[in-house]
């Protein structure tokens, strides 16, 4: 009777120990910092002001098309 109770207690203790040790392995994906860039501190790029230029967009689109197979 005592040995049955003792083995059950040992199993429970082992299970408790296992749960306790595995707790340290838990890692939340949301805790990881994937990307946190700083604010750009350099000088301005004139290309950025040109970004909306329809003329340049058309020229680029024409070039894109040139990459298709003939």
């Amino acid at each position: 009777m005592v040995s049955v109770f003792g083995s059950r207690l040992a199993k429970m203790a082992a299970l408790g120990l296992l749960v306790f040790t595995l707790t340290g392995c838990y890692e939340s994906a949301s805790d990881v910092t994937l990307y946190e860039p700083g604010v750009y501190k350099g000088s301005d790029d004139p290309l950025l002001n040109q970004a909306g230029s329809a003329e340049r967009e058309d020229a680029l689109r024409e070039r894109f098309g040139g990459q298709r197979d003939r």
Partner: protein
């Protein structure tokens, strides 16, 4: 607004290195720096595959995340550029980049690397467009002239595609369908191997 990307079709790349030469020639890249290079897998073995690799202009660029002086910026077109006047040549971006894109021109005593240099998608840098200063620091600014990068436009087999991500994906999809297959850059077979 375009989101600029590169894609190299491994089925078409013939390892001619014309893209590397075009890049070096167009941008006057110094000795010891390769903004673009061709990597061959299973070289010499039947079925070898080559791809041309440079800065992939990541949407979530890890180089920008680790830069201690915040010298990186992304244009509205999605091109990742940097300011060489700010760069301290620490090399953090090299460690962060999964493609080995950042290059350093100097190898002197005491580990002095010089300012980081990388592919600019032929879009220059933060100086006056197509000025001598821009050319000396960053190379040609073809994008400002409505042109695509020299490497892609020079590719004889059109293996290296550059341009708006959607358009590049569309061209690649057309090709793979014509090859009577499905795109193998992603999917089950790519992840787990054929026959699994």
């Amino acid at each position: 607004m375009a989101r600029m990307k590169f894609l190299c079709d491994a089925e078409r790349c013939i390892e001619c290195n014309a893209c590397v030469t075009a890049c070096k020639n167009e941008n006057e890249v110094p000795w010891g720096v390769n903004r673009r290079r061709v990597v061959t897998i299973n070289d010499g073995v039947p079925g070898e595959k080559s791809i041309s690799v440079a800065c992939m202009h990541c949407t979530d660029a890890p180089c920008a995340a680790v830069c201690p002086v915040d010298c990186f910026y992304t244009t509205d077109d999605g091109i990742v550029l940097h300011d060489k006047d700010l760069c301290i040549g620490c090399g953090y971006c090299f460690y962060a980049c999964p493609f080995g894109a950042p290059q350093y021109p100097q190898q002197e005593a005491f580990g002095v690397r010089g300012k980081m240099d990388k592919c600019t998608f032929c879009a220059g840098g933060p100086t006056a467009n197509n000025s001598n200063d821009e050319y000396a620091k960053y190379g040609a600014n073809r994008v400002a002239e409505g042109k695509l990068p020299a490497c892609a436009e020079m590719c004889s087999t059109k293996a290296l595609l550059a341009g708006d991500g959607d358009m590049v994906a569309d061209i690649f999809r057309e090709r793979t369908l014509r090859r009577s297959g499905r795109p193998q850059t992603w999917g089950w077979e790519q992840a787990y191997g054929a026959g699994v």
